[in-house]
């Protein structure tokens, strides 16, 4: 490597350390417990009941959600209030532009979306997906809803990939409920 090129590498050598004090990449907005309490304030008990999809169920979910399943196990909690089953709490991850976005979907006992919460958002742009108005678009949606970004779900400029992947994720959760939690 010649002297001139070596000299130019001084540029990134200075820039990279300068960028390190930038705000932490990962932002945890809610812990698991906080998300559970936010989505089901009336709950008295969350019973861990992870779903292990069979190959047939996996194919069903992928066909409906139009996205690949990265694994066959899904963290799910059965939610009870005063001894009654009131819904499901599903913890999920979807791709952001660079890292995973961790979010949770609350389904009522009939399988309709009760709410969506973002737990961890690690992307630079697109924190607007945490806005209640954007997340409220999913409320009441059931298996069969298209959740198509730009049509049934409004897009947020600058957060298109995050909006798209969360919409696909909720569609996948609804398919998972249809396949394994009915």
């Amino acid at each position: 490597m010649n002297d001139d090129f070596r000299k130019w590498w001084a540029v990134p050598a200075i820039i990279v350390p300068a960028a390190i004090p930038a705000p932490a990449f990962a932002v945890q907005y809610l812990t698991l417990e906080q998300a559970q309490q936010t989505l089901f304030p009336e709950a008295s008990r969350f019973v861990s009941q992870p779903v292990h999809l069979t190959p047939e169920q996996t194919r069903f979910v992928e066909k409906y959600a139009r996205v690949r399943m990265r694994g066959t196990e899904q963290p799910v909690w059965r939610v009870e209030a005063a001894g009654q089953h009131v819904g499901w709490f599903v913890l999920d991850e979807v791709y952001g532009k660079h890292e995973f976005i961790t979010y949770a979907v609350a389904l009522d006992a009939s399988g309709a979306v009760k709410g969506v919460e973002i737990l961890d958002y690690r992307e630079t742009h697109g924190g607007e997906v945490r806005q209640p108005a954007w997340r409220a678009q999913f409320t009441g949606k059931r298996y069969g809803a298209s959740l198509q970004l730009g049509e049934e779900i409004k897009n947020i400029s600058g957060a298109t990939l995050s909006c798209k992947h969360i919409s696909e994720g909720v569609r996948r959760v609804l398919a998972l409920h249809q396949a394994a939690l009915q």
């Binding site: 000299k7 001084a10 540029v11 820039i15 300068a18 004090p21 992307e123």
Partner: protein, 298 residues
């Protein structure tokens, strides 16, 4: 020392603007995707490209480009750039192109402005499509390092398509650059050396494809290839060359970096007397190029 000052300036830019944002990052070194910056977003870039080896003598040129991009709307991004170059060449004499040894450090060499408009979003539409138009004025010949007034206008179409849950990004670029150039006279030219100072018109066409895959959080590995050819008023097709090489890209919350190796695989057109690598174009191109890009969002 100028390079060190530039690095310090860039470092100061970093520390003085610690806020988020990341959008129109360059996953590859030479080809571009169709995405634009979100409205109101700002991004600063620094490119360093080293071109070296003409198959004879010693040739080493370093191009530097400092860019500022702004999201005018969610679909329209504007860019301004200041360019510089350094060059060290010895033992190369190419009639009409390189009149002798030249050696200097970083000098300002040109300015550029462009607009990029996204017609179709790669995340929302079946395929992303953007158009980019640019205008550049420069005053140093990037090949010989001599004084040369150059005005260039570029038009490009940029396609982008996601695959594999959007973890695989593919791009295709097609562009044309029209150039008006006029060399400044040189004293003490070698005897019989041709150095035309008449205005010249050139048209360059460029087409390329590339892909980048996110193999781990924040990390992309990519490969890209492109073909370039240039037509000049007096001699028709002056050159063509085919390049291909790998890229590695890293993105953090506020900044990203891409490093690319881009060797010339094949080339043709004009050759210089005694050129041994006749399957390469080495008058205006080199055997090897390395590029480092860093972008910072604020």
């Amino acid at each position: 020392m100028k390079a060190t000052r530039l690095g310090l300036l860039a470092g100061l830019m970093m520390t003085s603007a610690a806020v988020p944002a990341l959008a129109d990052e360059n996953l590859l070194g030479y080809l571009s995707g169709a995405e634009t910056l979100p409205e109101g977003a700002k991004e600063a870039y620094l490119w360093v490209t080293q071109r070296q080896d003409k198959g004879v003598g010693s040739y080493r040129a370093t191009d530097v480009e400092a860019e500022y991009e702004y999201g005018i709307t969610a679909r329209l991004t504007g860019m301004l750039a200041l360019k510089g170059q350094s060059i060290h060449t010895s033992g190369i004499l190419i009639d009409g192109y390189i009149p002798g040894d030249m050696s200097y450090g970083l000098r300002a060499s040109g300015i550029e402005a462009n607009l990029k408009y996204m017609f179709l979003s790669p995340a929302l539409d079946p395929v992303g499509l953007a158009g980019r138009i640019g205008l550049e004025y420069s005053w140093l010949d990037p090949h010989s390092g001599q004084d040369k007034r150059i005005i260039s206008a570029t038009t490009e179409f940029l396609l982008q398509k996601f695959f594999l849950d959007d973890q695989l990004v593919t791009v295709a670029n097609l562009g044309m650059e029209s150039t008006y150039a006029r060399r400044e006279p040189i004293d003490n030219l070698p005897a019989g050396f041709e150095w035309s100072t008449d205005p010249e018109m050139e048209i360059e066409l460029k087409a390329g494809v590339g892909l980048a895959y996110r193999f781990a959080p924040r990390w992309f590995v990519g490969v890209e290839t492109f073909y370039e050819t240039e037509f000049e008023t007096e001699i028709g097709q002056e050159r063509w060359s085919w390049h291909a090489g790998p890229s590695l890209h890293y993105a953090d919350r506020a900044w990203w970096a891409t490093v690319t190796w881009m060797p010339q695989l094949r080339g043709g057109g004009e050759t210089y007397p005694g050129q041994t690598d006749t399957d390469l174009h080495l008058i205006e191109k080199t055997k090897q190029e390395f590029r480092f890009k860093v972008g910072y969002n604020f």
